[in-house]
Amino acid sequence: MNYMELLGALAPEAIVVLTALVALAVDLLVLRQAPQNARQVVAVSITAVGILAAIIALSVAAPSPPWMDGLLINHSTTAFLKQTLLVLALVAGILSIQSRFTQHTGEYVTLLLLSTVGMMLLVSSDNLLLMFVALELTSLPLYVLTAFNKESPSSSEASLKYFLIGSLSAACLLFGISLLYGLSGGITWTQLATTLRAGSEPIVYLALILTLIGFAFKVAAAPFHLWAPDVYQGAPTPVAAFIASGSKIASFYMFARIFMAALPGTAGSAAWSGATPGWVPLVAALAVVSMILGNVAAIAQRSVKRLLAYSAIGHAGYALLAILSNTEQGMGSLLYYVVTYAVTAMGAFAVVNVIERDVQAPNGESLTDFAGLSRRSPLLSLCLLVFVLSLAGIPPLAGFFGKFYIFIATAQSGTSQGLIWLVMLAIGTSAISLYYYLQILKQVYVVESVGQPTPVQLRPAESACIVAMACTVLILGCAPNWLINRFSPNSTEVRRAGVITKPSTTLELAAEIHPRITAPLGTATGLVQKRPQFETTTANAQ
């Protein structure tokens, strides 16, 4: 083991940590007396430079074999996810310029970046220890960021709830992974996968449940969602946006990886007839509760941020379907889904941020503040239309394909399509969700605003971000292949084993990959149970 190699493999993370320190030092040492606006611009510029450097470092980094007996992994999928996370962090930074929730710009940017580092490490981590540390590094800054608005009691309240429930779930997770360690004697995915088998020890199920609780909290799946509405509403909007997007991507990826890669032996089945115990039926239960509760409760909301929180719970339910499909295809669809969802949610929150600044209501925005937005700012309304319709899953936007891939992956997994009942339920709840999404659009496009419509003040950087995100959602919807192919098995699992291949087309790949994966890797990771089928599904979709 060589320290320099380790540093090289972690260069992007190191760059981000350094950026955070520089931003903090510059803000506290040099710009103490400077006007607030200048400090924000400088801090965000430093952030942008650091994030760009990290993104470049990620794109030139060579995929590496598993590090140090499975401490961390770097391959093209993790690199792409990290780049997405960095971009989202940058957008959250840009959104906070000119917002008045805090004067501590340096600390804000630092915590944002360090949380991003936690997420990046979470994406890369290949064993229980690093996973837990990274998860804590992700969460702790988010707790503080949630409380950043010291003038608003709801911000502190949200932070306290987030912190208490978060600590409790971290304790559950720790208990769970300590049991997993005790049962298997190892902390890497490979060690866990080779030793843990269904029915070997009943206490495995306790470990599964506790681990599941920890992650269900992180992804805000019902019934562990209680923090989400308060945090989304109480936290400063850029922070809420980052919690809803970045933290979701990292947590879902880790959620899927720990269960698919480390615990395939205890999967069980959630088929309608013939369910067997394991983590899949548990995830199915979470998914069912989340989809129903999230989508039904969202109808009653009057605050758009709160509505987005409940919609996030519903979306977590859909994403859980991808996890419980427990196939490589499910993993690909999950990543497509969470990435597009993150961009969409970030966009929606960005619009809410603008409106919130515009109305300056003491209790935050409400649904009626969006009345007549189409007259006041056609551009903003159009972007909001894209985001909301994508969240609702209307073709040809990215949200549609996200759901579509997940439903396909879920329906095809399991024996004799036993999971079709979950897909039916998901489609049903999607239909319900249309109602409240259209409520927002009704306010924007149909309801007249009170009094004379005044144009909404938009800053160039902010509007550029919003438009860019809307375009991303549109493009990813029109050309989903580009993204989903990144998550195809060749980029995730073959490189993981150090076998770097460059197949010319995905079709060739599918033929080539099957024997290779199933022989050495299928047993080692237990990940691949079915042949990848993206080509057919994407073809169907078009």
């Binding site: 540390v133 004697g185 020890e201």
Partner: protein, 170 residues
Amino acid sequence: MPTLPDLLFYALAGFTLLFGFLCVANPFSRNPVTSAMFLVLTIISMAGLFVLLQAFFLAAVQVLVYAGAVMVLFLFVIMLLDIKEEERRRLNKAALGIGGVAVLAIAGLLVRALVQATPLASAAGQRAEGSTKPLGRLLFTEYLLPFEILSVLLLVAMVGVILLSKKEMK
């Protein structure tokens, strides 16, 4: 015939559980200071368990850090905030029901696991290294990365605490 370490184990484990219970649900006192003191006793009993496992370093650090520093600060805060005896809350029937079901389910699972459990054939990996040198060596070689990440985590905690506890200057 149980050996002395066995007896000590059961005694210490019993103390840990008893003090832990008294920390969260003391039927005689609802004073937060009392709870904190029982938490200190829980931690010390756990340190005793570490001693039984020959993990002297962990035991000492457990007492030094948790009982000696963290809990003192807890007490400090409890006293400064002058938290009165916690009122007896009205019991929320729904919450009680759901919580009860969850507790029963997990307890049932545990009992079932205990009943069906077979003695684990030393599955817990290599023996825990108690002395300081191997521990330090592991931390700085094999687990260097998580160790270093913890330093970033501490930085976050520091920045966060200063930020949240400082008075806002207008």
